[in-house]
Structure formats: structure tokens, C-alpha cells
């Protein structure tokens, strides 16, 4: 996206590495577009700070604040020194008039977020917890990179058991129990920092059969 954003310089703010841009639970009244640098989205779960995502230049965050001042649902921390454009409802109109392309991108982002939430909902409504864990892998695979060789059905996920538990809405204990069963059935391999699904098509069929029940 090579857009001339110089007219928006008055909305520019900078943050140094390690600084919070906003904090989970604060009321939100602005959304941000990253101009340079990176931020991470984190949530404190139990006693651990979990990174949910890392965002790069051209990406937005805090967009829900445009429509409601609900508490922020995660914390955003500068991963490098960052330059951001900060928009609120009042100056959103300026953005709309000056750079509708950005707002159109925002619209696309909303479409993606709705789809992601729906997909997540589909996972969570599976009663069979094995199927739920399997469906988490399918979901992650849909969002992940395409395999170089399309006939290759094995998939490597850079995720931890904690991540899988989080997406499946299960306790870590429950999730690792299920994963252990998969390991025993030789459907899954767990290695340092990654989980390998031997045959993703096998999981696709498995989830499909459970969903139809």
C-alpha cells in the first residue's frame, strides 16, 4: 500500500520500543494505523503474557473503538520504535474524505475479522473435544501459508499446546490430554515449539463427520 499519508501527519504519534499504546480494559476512543515499526498484541492469561499477533506497517488495530467505547480487549505494545496514525470518531471523517482507500481497507479488515470470529465459533460449538482440537488445526491451516507441494498433507504449526488450548476453549490439561491421544494414534507429533499434523485431510474428514452428527 503506497499511499501518500503526509496530510495526516497531524495525527501521527510515535512510541518507543516497549511502550504500551493501549492497555486491555482501558476504554477505547481511537484506532491506529501503523506507518513504521511493529507492534505486538498481547493478553495476560493467568500469570503469562501471551502474544496473540504481531502487526506490521499498513495494518490497523483498535478499530472497534470507532463504533463504541468498549474496554479494549487486548494490550498493544511497541515491538520496535513505531510511528502510528491515531484516528478517533471525530477525525475519522477527515480520513474518509482524504484517503477513502484506507477506509476501504478497514472495511476488508472487518470482513476478515467477522469471518475469523465465525470460524472460531464453529470450532467452539463442536461438542466432541477431539474434533474441537482437530478443527483448531484446520482453522490454523486455513490461515497459514499454502504448502509448496499441494499433494503434501503434513502440516507443521509453530504453536504450543497452550495456543491450541486457547483456541479450542479448553484447559491446558484437557488439550494436552487430547493431543497425547493423537500422538499415540500417530496422527500428531509434538516437538519443541511446534506441532506436526501428519495428515491434515484425515483431520478434515474427522471433523466433518463429527459436525454432521
Amino acid at each position: 500500500m503506497s499511499l501518500d499519508l503526509s496530510v495526516f501527519n497531524r495525527f501521527a504519534i510515535t512510541k518507543k520500543v516497549g511502550e504500551i499504546i493501549f492497555c486491555e480494559f482501558e476504554p477505547g476512543d481511537a484506532f491506529y494505523l501503523i506507518q513504521s515499526g511493529k507492534v505486538k498484541i498481547v493478553k495476560i492469561v493467568g500469570e503469562l503474557e501471551k502474544t496473540l499477533d504481531i502487526l506490521n506497517p499498513g495494518e490497523f488495530f483498535g478499530e472497534m473503538a470507532l463504533l463504541e467505547e468498549a474496554p479494549r480487549s487486548a494490550t498493544i505494545i511497541a515491538l520496535t520504535d513505531v510511528k502510528l496514525l491515531e484516528f478517533n470518531r471525530a477525525n475519522f471523517e477527515v480520513l474518509m474524505q482524504g484517503q477513502p482507500q484506507i477506509v476501504l481497507n478497514l472495511l476488508k479488515l472487518f470482513a476478515k475479522r467477522i469471518y475469523d470470529q465465525k470460524r472460531r465459533f464453529m470450532v467452539l460449538t463442536l461438542d466432541d473435544i477431539q474434533a474441537r482440537v482437530a478443527d483448531v488445526f484446520l482453522m490454523l491451516d486455513e490461515n497459514g501459508p499454502r504448502p509448496i507441494d499441494p499433494s503434501d498433507n503434513s502440516r507443521t504449526f509453530p504453536n504450543s499446546v497452550d495456543d491450541i488450548a486457547h483456541w479450542a476453549g479448553l484447559s491446558v490439561n484437557k488439550a494436552s490430554e487430547v493431543l497425547k491421544q493423537f500422538v499415540n494414534q500417530r496422527r500428531v507429533e509434538i516437538q519443541q515449539g511446534k506441532i506436526i499434523v501428519k495428515n491434515i485431510m484425515d483431520f478434515t474428514r474427522f471433523v466433518k463427520s463429527k459436525r454432521q452428527e
Binding site: 486491555e24 467477522i114 465459533f121
Partner: protein
């Protein structure tokens, strides 16, 4: 150019689950959007209004269609590719705004449904949530985020359930930050005091909305201004501090604010004004808890004006007054080093 297309009764424009890249507007006729509720699986039947877009979200993201579009009576439909659609809405931004509203409503609803399923709907209230984040980062010695969270807490809940704890932690985090990063001067208000000096409403005496030694509005304004200063918005912060001093409903925050005004002036580069202001402050409050910091900022002002002799005088004085490991002493030694460096 979008194509006008005729559809016969009982034909289907697309099925639920199809992946397509076309966007449609109903020009004339009757089209049914048929979908299933994601929760109850109940069938939802809605008529597409003439002039209304359909198939937008799925086409924009290349996702499976949520609904089937079924033609109930012979219809005329305009069919757009995604680039054609984009071109149209870019020249008619009201459409984007309208869709943004629709999408965000859907998103909010979906988000709520997911949260319900994972049982987070009933988790922490925002107040204790925000405090616990500050506490988490403080415990993990990540002072910058701790200070942010705690300052926000104090701004939002000047008379809250954790105000006493939060101001205490903010002060300690400020000290921690000053040790690891002496540029975090504004770290927490009063970070360098011997005693916690901002007067949070004590839990035994919940703040009454009347003026008093712990007037919550003064406290709120104060923390807001500190937050602004943290964001380097010194001119805005200055104005609020100035107002707190002028109204003087709360002697403690007035005194603190008067000091903060001096700091802001230094950061704004108004060194003459800063020197005058801070000298006045020291005369007015010879026992001001931020005395040593006030001296430090006078030193900084002289340094800013390249008056190294006077800057050195003030810095030396601070080192005589302060204990070796006090944050203000650390800052001062660093400033002195800078002075030496500048001389060479």
C-alpha cells in the same frame, strides 16, 4: 463496468458455502437471502431490498458465502467484480461508511457469541482488570508498561478500589524505571519522593465530590496531566497543571502541579520561564517533597541555555543533599557527565 444480468424465477445466484468474487445490487425483482443462524441453526429468510448490495463480505475476503441468494421473481441484478465495486465505493464514500456500520455490528455480535462460549463474558471487570495488568508488569519488572497501565488506572479511577495500591506501585515502578532508564523522568508522578505524596483518597474515606485535601476532580486532572506529560504532550499537560494551581481546591495537588509545571516548561524548552517558576516554587515551599527534583530541573534549564557554570552549581548542590542511590542523584550524575562530555 458492472454488468446488468437477468435472473429467472427460482434460479439461484449463489449457494451458501460457495466461494465467489462477485458483488451484487438488486435493481428490480425479488431475491431471498437464505441462511442459518450460527447458534441455533434456525433458518433465516430475508428479502434483499431493491438498491441493496449483497455478497459483499464474502467477495471482499474470498470467503464462503454465508447465505444462498435465491430468485423469487424475475430480477435484474448488477454484477460487480471486486475492483469495480472498489471503484464505485471510493467515489461514493457514504456507501463505505454504511457498510462499515453493518460489518461492525456483525463483528460485535460474533465477538460476543465467542466470548460467551469461552465463558469470558463474566470475567474481570475493567477496573480490576486494568489494575491487574499494571500489577503484572510491575511484578515482572517491565516498568514502562506498568507505569502506563497504572497511570491510566489512576486517571480513570481516581477514587477507585485499588487507587492506593496503584499509586504505590506507580511510584515504585517509576523508581524502578529511573534506575534502568534515567530518561523516564516523568515515570510516575512523585516517583522520587521519600513518601508517597499524591494524596489518593484513602479507602476508609471514599472521596466525596466536595473540595478537600483529596478532591477527586483535582486528583483526576492531575493524573490526566501526568499521563499527557508521559506522552510528551507537555503543552497540554502544562495547561491542566496550571488550572489545578489556579483553582487551588486541593493544596497537595496544587503544590505537586506547580512543580510539574516547571518540568513541563523545561521539556518545552522554555528555560528562562522554567528557572523563574521553579525558583519561585522553592521559595514558596522550602520543604516541597520534590525540592531536589526542582533543583535538578533548574540545573537542566541552565544546561539548556548552555550556562554550564550554573548548571554545575545546581547539580553539585543536589549531590550534597541527596543520598547516593536516590534516583535524583543518579539522574544528576548522568547530567554532570553529559556536561563534562559537552566541554571536551
Amino acid at each position: 463496468m458492472p454488468k446488468a444480468t437477468q435472473y429467472k424465477t427460482n434460479s439461484v445466484i449463489y449457494f451458501q458455502g460457495d466461494v465467489g468474487d462477485k458483488i451484487f445490487i438488486l435493481k428490480a425483482g425479488k431475491i431471498l437471502s437464505k441462511s442459518n443462524d450460527i447458534e441455533t441453526k434456525e433458518e433465516i429468510n430475508e428479502l434483499v431490498a431493491p438498491g441493496e448490495f449483497f455478497g459483499v463480505k464474502s467477495a471482499l475476503g474470498r470467503y464462503p458465502r454465508d447465505e444462498s441468494a435465491i430468485v423469487l421473481a424475475d430480477s435484474e441484478v448488477l454484477v460487480f467484480t471486486v475492483p469495480e465495486f472498489e471503484q464505485l465505493v471510493l467515489s461514493n464514500t457514504r456507501i463505505i461508511m454504511k457498510m462499515l456500520k453493518v460489518f461492525s455490528n456483525q463483528l460485535r455480535r460474533m465477538h460476543g457469541k465467542v466470548q460467551n462460549l469461552i465463558g469470558k463474558g463474566t470475567s474481570k471487570d475493567p477496573e480490576s482488570g486494568l489494575y491487574s495488568i499494571g500489577e503484572y508488569y510491575y511484578t515482572n519488572r517491565q516498568y514502562k508498561p506498568a507505569i502506563h497501565a497504572l497511570t491510566r488506572y489512576l486517571t480513570l479511577y481516581p477514587a477507585g478500589r485499588f487507587t492506593v495500591e496503584a499509586s504505590d506501585l506507580a511510584r515504585k515502578a517509576g523508581q524502578g524505571a529511573a534506575k534502568t532508564d534515567s530518561t523516564a523522568i516523568f515515570a510516575a508522578a512523585g516517583a522520587d519522593n521519600e513518601e508517597p505524596d499524591f494524596s489518593p483518597p484513602t479507602p476508609s474515606a471514599p472521596a466525596a465530590p466536595t473540595a478537600g485535601p483529596s478532591d477527586p476532580s483535582a486528583a483526576k486532572g492531575f493524573f490526566e496531566a501526568v499521563a499527557l506529560a508521559n506522552q510528551e504532550k507537555y503543552a497540554d499537560a502544562y495547561k491542566i497543571f496550571q488550572k489545578i494551581v489556579a483553582t487551588n481546591v486541593d493544596p497537595e495537588h496544587s503544590a505537586k502541579s506547580e512543580f510539574e509545571m516547571g518540568r513541563c516548561l523545561v521539556f518545552l524548552g522554555k528555560f528562562d520561564e522554567a528557572t523563574k517558576h521553579l525558583t519561585g516554587l522553592i521559595q514558596k515551599y522550602p520543604k516541597h517533597p520534590d525540592l531536589k527534583d526542582a533543583l535538578y530541573f533548574i540545573g537542566r534549564s541552565y544546561q539548556g541555555k548552555n550556562d554550564t557554570t550554573w548548571a554545575r552549581n545546581f547539580y553539585t548542590k543536589i549531590l550534597n543533599l541527596a543520598a547516593e542511590d536516590e534516583p535524583v542523584a543518579v539522574k544528576t550524575r548522568k547530567a554532570l557527565k553529559e556536561l563534562e562530555g559537552a566541554k571536551v
